[in-house]
């Protein structure tokens, strides 16, 4: 009974901590070709998220670029290659660099993924899913504890995009995400496009899947576009956001105490002006549900 009470008490404590995080509004995943236009249109972008792994060991030019951006925007560092799901443990030297960058940026939170990008000598360009097992939950817990000892700034974790399901699974993805966030004491970076793309692997109903997530932990939402290939949606981040993703985004914002929404765009970058309407639409959804003014 004490265990249950402790867990409930801890959950309340974490939810309160997350509720005190600032409401950032609607931002953009920063890509260098956007820089000049961003500086001219600051009022239309509430914050920037950076692909933070690229700024470790930064050259002086990149440090200056970050300083310039930080003068004009709140910066949220988003990591992919710390690899919190690696069973071989965290790379301590890499963690030190991550900690130094987070400390220098002093953001309201930082983010990583519920997956792994490093295994042996291979580094993946995108986080791979973990097996939905107790062993994998234990690996995430151990690595999260190590990371949080090094970095006191709140950590939020993102659900990954993949239809790949390991054999020998002991729970489904929704239960797995609940377990990891529970033992890790972290917020959720909910990628609604990943949910949309993964839908075929969990029965095809992302809205029902969303209902089973710990929505009180959602701090930030990622959304992006993609394209159809061979009858399935590919989260390529290279096109406009499809209507199904907008619907999921609205459902999530209506139900979760979202502090920020971030648009990711990679390939096929248009001029900034051509994506700003997507930020404005997301901002209006947030306003409609009173997440910000």
């Amino acid at each position: 009974m004490d265990g249950v009470e402790n867990r409930v008490g801890r959950k309340t404590e974490i939810t309160k901590l997350l509720a005190n995080l600032p409401r950032l509004g609607v931002g953009l995943a920063y890509r260098e070709p956007f820089r000049d236009e961003l500086l001219q249109k600051q009022s239309e972008v509430d914050f920037l998220e950076i692909a933070a792994d690229d700024y470790l060991d930064a050259t002086p030019v990149l440090e200056e670029e970050l300083e310039l951006l930080a003068e004009h925007f709140t910066i949220v560092p988003h990591f992919m290659k710390l690899s919190l799901g690696s069973a071989e443990g965290l790379d301590e030297a890499y963690l030190e660099k991550v900690a130094a960058l987070v400390k220098w940026l002093n953001p309201p939170w930082w983010s990583e993924h519920i997956g792994f990008t490093r295994a042996g000598k291979v580094t993946l360009a995108h986080p791979a899913p973990l097996p939905f097992t107790k062993d994998a939950v234990a690996v995430m817990k151990r690595n999260i504890i190590t990371a949080r000892r090094a970095i006191p700034t709140p950590l939020i974790l993102e659900n990954v995009c993949s239809q790949l399901v390991w054999p020998g699974t002991e729970m489904d993805e929704a239960d797995f995400l609940n377990e990891v966030l529970g033992v890790g004491g972290c917020g959720l970076l909910l990628d609604v496009t990943n949910l949309f793309a993964n839908a075929p692997s969990f029965g095809g109903d992302p809205a029902a899947f969303l209902e089973r997530l710990p929505l009180d932990r959602v701090v930030q939402i990622h959304f992006s576009g993609g394209h159809e290939s061979k009858g399935r949606f590919v989260d390529s981040r290279g096109q406009a956001v499809p209507e199904g993703v907008w619907q999921l985004l609205e459902q999530a914002v209506a139900q979760a105490p979202v502090r920020s929404i971030c648009l990711e765009r990679d390939d096929n970058l248009p001029p900034l002006g051509e994506v700003l309407w997507e930020l404005e639409r997301a901002r209006a959804i947030g306003r409609q549900h009173r997440r910000w003014n």
Binding site: P33, E64, A87, Q163, L164, P167, V234, S236, D267, N268
Partner: protein, 193 residues
């Protein structure tokens, strides 16, 4: 510990098509050779098509990042950039590929060395690709001196690309592109001669 071994195997399966085909042809033998003593039978049940889809997603992510690192080359080559990247991604990744800029520089080397002139239409796009790759070396990798001899007039091209439209013309006049910094921590100076 077993999970660590399994992750190594899955990471290789996702990034190496030959290894993936070899594994699914004979999972027990390949797993034993890779030192996986337990769980190989389970991994053999990995959905082959899902694994292939994930491998494609990894390639799509690399393509997206490399396209952002080489924005003008991406724009000018359009779909040829995408098709060539698919060929490039079949090869073993260059050392240090975890850094996007290293991947982008490796891709330009591949375009110039393996693919050849037919991809570069208009002809000046070869100079553009080499210019963007050299800039990555100077700015992101912090090289103190980067020098490139380019067969086209890159300066006017950059100006016109920034305006969104390149006027017809050959741009056939060589350019020497130089980035130099006096100290390790200094700011690079850049000249087009």
């Amino acid at each position: 510990m077993e999970l660590a071994q399994q992750q190594k195997l899955v990471a290789r399966l996702c990034t190496n098509r030959e290894f993936r085909e070899e594994f699914f042809a004979n999972p027990a033998q390949v797993a034993a050779r890779e030192g996986l003593t337990v769980g190989a039978e389970g991994l053999a049940e990995l959905h082959h098509e899902h694994l292939r889809q994930f491998a494609r997603l990894l390639r799509t992510r690399r393509l997206g990042s490399v396209g952002v690192a080489l924005p003008l080359t991406r724009r000018v080559l359009g779909n040829r950039f995408v098709e060539c990247f698919k060929l490039y991604a079949l090869r073993p990744p260059p050392p240090g590929v975890e850094r996007v800029v290293v991947d982008a520089i490796g891709f330009v080397d591949f375009l110039c060395g393996q693919v050849g002139a037919e991809v570069f239409d208009p002809a000046w796009s070869v100079s553009l690709a080499r210019y963007e790759a050299a800039r990555l070396e100077a700015v992101w990798l912090g090289r103190r001196l980067v020098v490139r001899w380019l067969p086209h007039r890159i300066g006017p091209l950059l100006v016109q690309l920034a305006k969104g439209k390149v006027e017809a013309g050959s741009f056939n006049r060589p350019t020497l592109a130089i980035w130099w910094r006096g100290t390790e921590r200094g700011r690079p100076h850049h000249w087009l001669v």
